[in-house]
Structure formats: structure tokens, C-alpha cells
Symmetry: C2
Subunit: 466 residues, 2 copies
Amino acid sequence: MQDYSVADLLQGRRAVDSPVTVEGWVRTRRDSKAGMSFLAVSDGSCFAAIQCIAPSELPNYATEVLHAGSGCAVRVSGRLVASPGKGQRFEVLADRVEVLGWVEDPESYPVQPKPHTFEYLRSVAHLRPRTNTFAAVTRVRNCLAQAIHRFLQARGFCWIHTPIITTSDCEGAGEMFRVSTLDLANLPRRADGTVDFAADFFGREAFLTVSGQLNVEAYCLAMSRVYTFGPTFRAENSNTSRHLAEFWMVEPEIAFADLAADASLAEDLLRAIFAAVLDERADDMAFFNDRIAPGCIARLENIVSRPFARLDYTEAIGVLERSGKAFTFPVSWGLDLQSEHERYLAEEYVGGPVVVMNYPKAIKSFYMRLNDDERTVAAMDVLAPGIGEIVGGSQREERLAVLDARMEASGLDREAYGWYRDLRRYGSVPHAGFGLGFERTVSYVTGIANVRDVIPFPRTPGSASF
Amino acid sequence: MQDYSVADLLQGRRAVDSPVTVEGWVRTRRDSKAGMSFLAVSDGSCFAAIQCIAPSELPNYATEVLHAGSGCAVRVSGRLVASPGKGQRFEVLADRVEVLGWVEDPESYPVQPKPHTFEYLRSVAHLRPRTNTFAAVTRVRNCLAQAIHRFLQARGFCWIHTPIITTSDCEGAGEMFRVSTLDLANLPRRADGTVDFAADFFGREAFLTVSGQLNVEAYCLAMSRVYTFGPTFRAENSNTSRHLAEFWMVEPEIAFADLAADASLAEDLLRAIFAAVLDERADDMAFFNDRIAPGCIARLENIVSRPFARLDYTEAIGVLERSGKAFTFPVSWGLDLQSEHERYLAEEYVGGPVVVMNYPKAIKSFYMRLNDDERTVAAMDVLAPGIGEIVGGSQREERLAVLDARMEASGLDREAYGWYRDLRRYGSVPHAGFGLGFERTVSYVTGIANVRDVIPFPRTPGSASF
């Protein structure tokens, strides 16, 4: 393992004429009639491969170099020189090329250096990080994730690891996966024949979390500024291009804060992480812009460059009603906004992101703060051009009596939420938060529409690792 | 929500005499006979509360301030002044005190400002972040987590979110939790009476991951430097003080690297994150050193200040045999080291951390690289004083034929690991990695022995949120 990467070399962090060693995988090899080979070697550290020139004088030129094709792992030692060719500033004049790992049967290597469909690549997910596209997705994911941490840490937020296995369902909404160690072939049963979960690992029924929000509120009402960033699960819609059964979510939660502060935090976070990816992953973004989603850079630049609009839900309904557009879904006060409505508001009405606030209480969760009109709650969605909703959040109901009434109306068991009610009994304050789906954000940034193509391992039946 | 926190005020980031507003929770209130009250207000941003002096002239002094006890949420506006008292540099002279959230029935408030046992606090886990100890644990966790990201990112590593729900068992070892959406009251069955998992959510049996290592190897062999940092699960030993059913793990994986490079990376990472916590959370560490685990600061300083020793397993057995110590467990070449052996090596023989390398293959996992002696594998454990093993890692077997032989000897199904074998068929290179249990690390740093007391929400039956 070297102290420097291909990215370091291409960015000029080593002096020209230095002896260097490059370790990576051959993307392509071109053999010149002049008696040398050009190996494009990638180590994943940046979009570009570095060009390594192997002269025919190398002792293993004919026996090895001329057989080192795409996917072979090599260690190239030589001298770093300024490149006369276009497209790269530096290249390596090799005085030694070792092939560390061959490709067994190159003809059948599953990720040939040619275009593959995303669908095909899902079936070889363990090799897809070797393609330009998926290595770029991986770096962009990493950049966004770190930008999220940096933004929140700089503002004094604490990262909280909320429980993955839980017995509470955040919204009484999402379908949940059961977690169990019971022997299904021999289920323990009570006298009445029902399954006896007292014999299960935790002594009761347990599930995978759909959101860390309720839990993280307990930390918010002690530490003021907290966030979750971890996996969440929904046992539904796994086969659409916009939903995953398992996805990462960021959920900041702030105390002494109202809905307006929540919207501002969401806006600042989105602008900061989009600015980071434009700045730090310009190489990968140029690739997505050129080859995957023309315009994706301009779309982010537009978001970064100016404030988000804000619109009350009630105003938004008026805008949609007056739009003259023939929507597929009905528009009427009390109905939720559909994707087509959200995109109209962001793309045509505003021409940029818009925060829609104060939705009818009947279409929102029990924990959202009831507004004084008693018809709406302090909920907000950030809608962005090209995607619609990208953030959903709310001010939380901090008044115990109002929360209890909302829980009763929602048919929720007060006992099960005893600890959540406690937070309203002891030093309760206005607080608010939101959720940002991480894969959805990566999909938006890269312009790759199907979220299964931006997670490290898709759950394609029969596919690698799953 | 203010732009500055209590930590900002106490660290002098606002000028003396500035008007300031403090929002937080009352830790304690003391009423002076001179006609004023001293409110210690914490917002979770640092260990210390800030002293706010409320004069009796405030209009709500008698009606509210004199009733604002521990746990009440307040907003205090006033002027920042240098504090004449000891223990703080600054305090706030209040000209307004608002009680935003009262404590219902203060007598029964579950987290009174007095010592509570850790066991009791597990039963009120939703309120325990309001105690000095657990707020400090939360900040230390956050500091360590960010130090891990910073260390790895600075070295060009990519964070990879490996699958949580998986169908593969990393080591054929850990007991796993089943993940399912089948209706247990009405299980689908095949003709022979066995459960029909084809009807389950993923069309096959699925479990919670015990490690992301095998998955992350696929990314390592494309991106060179990668790591996981996410939750892992073991359905065993949940009721001991050293094991959790759900815990976070950091698993770096490096390509073009051998066992020595792996050990160096683990050493550098541990020293960097311990240095970070000593530097950035000196306030919380002083508390742990004074009140929880005397000597815990010196223990970390000792680790940060000098290189780790390295010892072959075979040498370590010799050292133990010659030690003259009466160990409970036998010492003999071929047996695994027990905690008492590990601690003897680190605490008495070396007097600091020691990396033990090259263990007998029979006691280690199939994926660890077979050494030339064919009796040992390239495995390493980092042993630290006061805990024993804190990191476990290995160079991975990159040779397909050797891997196949090891899998066969371990009774593993070659088909199920087809994708993992592929990584050895296409551009395979020496690579290595290790696992660092995050809760175990937090437990070590804070000196809090029971890992259930360093996770955000313990799974105590009947406890909050679980």
C-alpha cells in the first residue's frame, strides 16, 4: 500500500520526475505499433485512470504486459512525467509492471470495458464498483455522507445511533419487518394457540425500525441538537424504482425551534451538501452530466445559488387550482400533494426548490404540532425540481394534552408511548426535525433515477451477496 | 434556537457584556438569602452548565423562578459577565427568565439531581441523556465516531453502507436474527410441511448481518480503501455486560496490503481517535476520570504516546507459559487466548497495547490468509490494557484455490459464496482489514464497563422505547 493514490498523482501532489508506484486495476490497455503499451490504471480514488506507459523492453512485456487486460490488478513502478497527451496532466513511464491478479477467462469477465445496462450490472453487484459509473456513485455517496456530518457537526449536533431493532412503529404507518429467533418449524404457542413471543429473543415482538425520529426526540430534549444517520426499513414497494426495503436516512432534530427554523435548517443542509459535491466531486459530476443525466450540474447549481421559496399548503392548493394544468390526480384542500403537483410547484411555478408548509392534519402524523387553526399541522416538505419531495419534516407536538388527543384520534395505545409522553411531562419545549432519504438524495444528485442503482448492493434476487 | 450554545458562551466565543439568551434545562437551582436565585442551565453542548443569576426583581421571580427546579426547560435572557465564582469563567445576569416547560410533579421526576445506579437509569433510558453521565457518554460517542470518519477520510477511504438485511453469514459463526414478513399465525408451507420462504419478502430466508466485511471486500477490490461503519447484530449473549445484540462496528478494508499494514492502520486509527477524545472532550473525560474510572485518562495517554508492541501468537504462548501465572484457562499452542491471557500480555508483559499476530488456522475464520507454515493464518488482534482484545483483523485469503480448500474444510457451500469467490477470479490482490466494535471502544474510553450503559437505548425489558 502506497502513501499516495492515483488521485494524488493526477492532482500534482507528487513532483514530476519522482519515482512512483501505482497499484490498481487495468481499465483498458492499448498496444502501440511503436513498441509500447498504454495501461489505464484505476485505484478508485478518482474518476480518471492514470496512463502508464510500458515499453516493450520490459522483461515480462511479451509474456505478461501484452496479456494484462481489463480487470487485471497491477503494480506499476516508474517515473512520474508530464503528459504530452490531452486529457491528463501526468502519466507514468514504467520501468516495472507486475501483474498481481489475473482475470480468469478474460472473454467472460462480467464487467467488460463497454456499456452495460444498469439492470445487467445489478446482477453482478459485487463487480459493479469496478465500472466508471458505480465507482463514481460510490465516491459521490461518500462525499454527500461526509458533507452531512460536517455540516451538522460544525453546528454542534451530536450523531445518535437510534435503535435498529425496535418494538415501536414510528408513525403507525410503514409496514415493518419482523425480527425473531423463534424456530419457525416449531413455534412456541400459548394455551390459546397463538404464537408465544415471550419465548422470542427479546421476550416480545420486535421489528426493524422505520425511523429513528421518536427515539432521537428523547436526545433532542436533553442535548438540543442531534441527528440520526442510519439504516431504516420499509417492508413495502421494494420493486419500484423509487423505494427500497432498506435505506439510510438522516434525521436532524432541534430543540427550542419552530417550523420556520426547521425549514431553514433543511434548506441550509441541502445547499451545503450540494455545494460540497459540486466542489469535491467535480470529476464524477462531470461524468454524470455528460453521460447519465445532462443538466444535473446546472440543477444543483441553481439550488445552491439562491434561497428556497416558501408557500403555505393552502396557497399551494390555490396555485395548483389556478394553474390550468390537467393533472392526473385531483387537487383539493385536504388531499395530499402528488408527485405531479409537487413537480409543477417546484419546476413551473417557482423554478427552484420550494418549502410547502402547514398541511391538513388529517393527512399527517399524530406527532406533528397542531396549528392554532386546528385544521392544519406544522408540517413541511421541501420540493425540488426533477424529483418533488426531497425532505419531509415537522414541528413536533410538545403539549401533552394535544398529543394525547391526537393519539386517541389516531387509535394509538397511550401505554405503548408512555416514554414518548414522558418527554412532554418533563421540561417539554418546542422542537422540530425532518428526514432526508439518503439514497433518494444520491439518486437526485447523480441523476440515476432508480434507487437500486445507487445503493452499494441491490437486492436483486439471485444477485451477489444477497 | 440561538446561533450559539452554552459551550460557546463558556469558551468565550461571545464578548463579555454581550446580550445573550440561554436555552436549556435546569440542572440545579439555589436560592440565596440575598434575594436572588442561581440556575445552572445545561443545553447538552458541553459538560458544564452555565450559571444564570436571576434577581428577585424579576416580575415572575416568586411565581415561577422559585419553582423552576431540576429538569425544567428555560429561556434566560440577560448579559454575559465574567464570573467571580470558581469553576466557571462566565455567567449570565438574567433580566428575563421564561419557563418553557415545567416538570409535572417534581417529586417524582425520574432523573433527580442525585446519584442513580446505572441499572436504574437503564429503566428510564429516554430521560437518561439529561444526566451528567449519559450526556457525557453521548458527546464522547459522537467525538469518537467523527474522529473515525475524519481519520479514514483524510487517508482517502470511502464509507460503504453494506447490507443490513442479508442472506449470508459472514463467518458461519454468529447466531443470527431472522428478518421476515411472513404471518407467523399462518405460515405458508411447502408440500412436505416445511416453511415456504419463497413466499417471504425477499423470496428466500433473510437475516440481520453479523459483519459487513465480506461485502466490503468487493468494494475494496475496486476502490482500494473502504470502510463500513454501521450496525451489526448477534443473537447471543445479550445479557452479559460485554455483549450487545445490536452494536455498531467499524470495518476498514485495504487493498495491496498485508497483515503488517493492517496492524499499522489499526494502531494509527486507535491512537488518532483516543488523541481526539482527549483533546476535544477534555471536560467529559475529566468527569469520567474523577467519578467513574480513575486513571482512564492516563490509560489513553499511554496508548497515544508510544508505538504498539508486536508479538507472534507463538511467541505469546511462550511468554504466557513462562509467566509463572496461575491462569484459570489453559495455555497451549493451538488454543485461543482468553481475556486473562490477553490482559496479562498487555498489562504485565508489555505495559501497553500489543498486536498479536499469526494465530493457528484451526481457531480462525476460513477467509483469513494461510501462512506459508500452513499451520497459522495472517490474523491479528490488538490487545489493550484493561480490556484485552479491542481490534480483530486479518489479511484475507486472496488465492482462490486456497480459499476453496479452507471453505471445504469449514463445511461452507461454495455456491453460496460464488460472488465472494469471483473476487478471487478477477484481479485479486492481497488485502486486509479489521473490525473495531464501537460500543466496546466507548466503554473502554469512558471506563463504563457495561456496554448497555454506553448505547443510546439499552434493551432493558419494559424500558423506554423498547
